[in-house]
Amino acid sequence: MSESLLEITDLGISFSHPRPAVRSVSVTVEEGEVVALVGESGSGKSMTARAVIGLLPDGAIATGSVRLRGREVLGLPEAELNQVRGRQVAMVFQEPQTALNPVRTVGWQIGEALRAHGGVRGKAAKDRAVELLREVEIPDPEERLGFYPHQLSGGQKQRVVLALALANEPELLLADEPTTALDVTVQAEILALLRRIRDRTGTSILIITHNMGVVAHLADRVVVLRQGEVVEEAGTRELFAAPRHSYTRQLLDAVPRLPTPEERVHAVTVDDAPAVATDAVAALEYDDVRVHYGSRMRGRVLPAVDGVTLRLERGQVLGLVGESGSGKTTLGRLAAGLVPLAGGTVRVGGEDLVRARGRRRADLRRGLAFVHQDPEASLDPRFSIAEAIREPLDVHGIGSRKGREARVTELLDAVRLPQSFLQRRPRELSGGQRQRVALARALTLDPRLLIADEPTSALDVSVQAEVLELFADLQQRLGFACVFISHDLAVVNKVADHVAVLRSGKVVELGPAARVFGAPSHDYTRQLLAAVPVPDPTVPNLVTSATGPALREQHIAS
């Protein structure tokens, strides 16, 4: 038989760092095959893909071999690489928001991709551009040619990036986390599109992802990477059915899951009534709450939250789910007093947060805590870990110096971090560790209400699993009420007692988590659930079943 389309043998990539980014990776991709490179951050999956297209960062040293149809790509001079890029191998990136040139039109950028390989010009180029946009299922392609990237929605941008990659009919498409930055329903559409492109054109795809659900429904074969080495390689069905390596098993176990079909049958019987009597004082109440964005002076006022009424009982966890622009984050920030209220009332422990003044306000604040989604930025880079955790005590002047230190020690234990971390700076911690510190800091004042805004979305699955478990444990022990905001339905399913599904600033469905996820009553909830790629290749879902173009693109483009 002829040689493979792509053959990576014993690839190693190192920087001046002591630890190499890629130790030894060997992967082959055959014609028309979809291979997934799976791993957590630091596994070297992205570096491997970049080596294939010759786009390693400056200072990277690559060893081993990368062959495309038998031709060695590593060490090829730039001019020859430019012949390979785009024509033989093309790449789609994670962040569609920045992957396109903001000051050039879509048509110009496609034209430039065609010109790079001396292809068609003029009228023929325009026709080809329209054809490409049609291929990636963008409506009104002729008109869209004149659009700038900022006039397109995230999903449409990713389609344009895909069109650019397909412009010169490459044999191999590298897709680096192509759907990670997208909403779940858009993700489903893009995945379905990738699959159709493979079926239509026979283009091989090497998809790099951390998402087991994406793997399950797109890949023919899976290669699991860990710290720059291949730990397991298998056909998708075999891998999910019987993972051989313990790391693969851990990875699969760590993935939060939604109710299975059998569980869903039982869910119908779950009672929607709140577990606690409603006459008790709620931890948090939203009463017909409204928030606006944009300034009235410029004549554009958009509702971010549009008449939401919700109630969170003491000691319970309320999950807020929805796609971008649903208003879930705004609702959380509202409860923390970070967003001005345009209408309605927010009551924390029965008291109006906005109207409280002076001492009452300070007391209310002491009972509140907020965990931000970005572990990079949620700790002051100049503060040591001890200072960061102690800050709330310092602010309120609580306790003696010794007492404060004892409290910090206790909290660090509670989030299962060693005492040696006390004098470290945030920069010396990993994302997961930083998020634990943020959690410790939030618990410093024994809050009655914790608002957690996507606290695990920047973390790897296994780290996410630990943080979620830690969170659930602390919540049980300390009994604080919590608003848990996430775009990830499975994560919310794992931690929340009740769930509110939000869309365009309104609550579309509310109920106990098991009922909402098991037996959704609203169409939108059903759509959301159907779009989540289930980490099980035997379960058919939207990715494999969807055949039509742009299911709900019109909704996303807001």
């Binding site: 430019n82 890029r85 990136f93 920045t98 992957a99 430039e112 790079a116 006039q151």
Partner: protein, 319 residues
């Protein structure tokens, strides 16, 4: 675009209005009396009073201000106390020379910045970068009066190939070759600092652009680095470069005062020095107001060009 301009206009007018009153009031508070300058030390009190009334200086400050504004709007800029003659003519004569000098310097600076920064980024060669960076630091570090002196010493004293100062005797249009000779030294001297600052800024922003994800996208499509710099990175770096250019133009105007003094170039710089030392109120006011006016207009123009160059501002999101 027109709407954008309209939105920016009111704040520009407010700045102008406040500035004009500030200038007017400040000039009145300057110690030293134009009356004694005009009348001489031995004039009688009656003669002083007559001159005072003649100049309108016996009126309240606000009245004087309103009168002055009214005159300005009618195109009457007043008469110079000391030098004599209409302020309009004096300013117009000086302005031509200053504008020729600063605009030449600006074009020179722009050309140098564009060529140097693109070369640095496209070649991306250690030695080219080191050389450009060294020259750049030197050009920024050398004060204008230093480079001016060195230029005169070199090209007018040691090797007398160019005139040491002044403007061409028959105006700029009569003998273009002569005009170039006269312009060369002062324009280079003036352009050096601004050119170096612009080069530094443009090089840095081009480098930043080249780190943007869209450049990676383009490279993954097989588009050459040089082509990306010329057709994409430069286009993205342009809007903010225009803003910096506007700021540099202000710096050039200030620098022109000095360069004009070094090269005995008869422009507005000398005029303003003379006007202030002679307490020539009408002239001082108009000159200061002019400098604020130029600043406001340049800000407005750069803002509009910036907005026009950036489709994200030009066309709002439609989706």
């Amino acid at each position: 675009m027109g709407a954008y301009l309209l939105r920016r206009l009111p704040s520009a007018l407010v700045v102008l209005a406040i500035a004009s009153f500030g200038i007017f009031a400040m000039v009145r508070m300057v110690p030293g009396d134009p009356v004694s300058t005009l009348a001489g030390p031995d004039a009688s009190p009656e003669a002083r009073a007559a001159i005072r009334a003649d100049l309108g200086l016996d009126q309240p400050l606000v009245t004087q201000y309103v009168t002055w504004l009214g005159q300005l709007f009618r195109g009457d800029f007043g008469t110079s106390y000391r030098i004599g003659g209409s302020v309009k003519d004096l300013v117009a004569d000086g302005a031509v020379n200053t504008i020729v000098l600063t605009v030449t310097a600006l074009l020179l600076a722009m050309a140098v910045a564009l060529v140097c920064s693109v070369l640095a980024v496209v070649l991306d060669n250690r030695w080219v970068n080191a050389t450009l960076s060294f020259g750049n630091t030197l050009a920024i570090a050398l004060p204008t009066f230093v480079t001016g002196l060195v230029l005169i010493l070199l090209f007018a004293v040691v090797f007398p190939v160019l005139p040491a100062g002044g403007t061409p005797p028959d105006g700029f249009l009569a003998r273009p070759d002569l005009s170039v000779q006269y312009l060369l030294l002062p324009a280079v001297c003036l352009a050096l600092g601004a050119g170096a600052a612009l080069t530094r800024f443009l090089t840095e922003s081009l480098r930043t652009e080249l780190r943007q994800p869209y450049v990676t996208t383009a490279r993954a499509l097989g588009i050459s680095r040089r082509r990306i710099v010329l057709t994409q990175a430069l286009r993205n770096a342009l809007p903010s470069a225009v803003t910096v250019l506007g700021i540099q133009f202000g710096t050039l105007l200030g620098g022109a005062v000095l360069v004009e003094a070094i090269f005995t170039w008869p422009g507005l710089g000398g005029l303003i020095e003379e006007a202030i030392s002679g307490r020539d109120y009408p002239l001082v006011q108009v000159l200061l107001l002019l400098s604020v006016g130029v600043f406001v207009v340049i800000q407005l123009v750069t803002d509009v060009i910036h907005a026009w160059l950036d489709p994200r501002i030009r066309i709002g999101a439609q989706a």
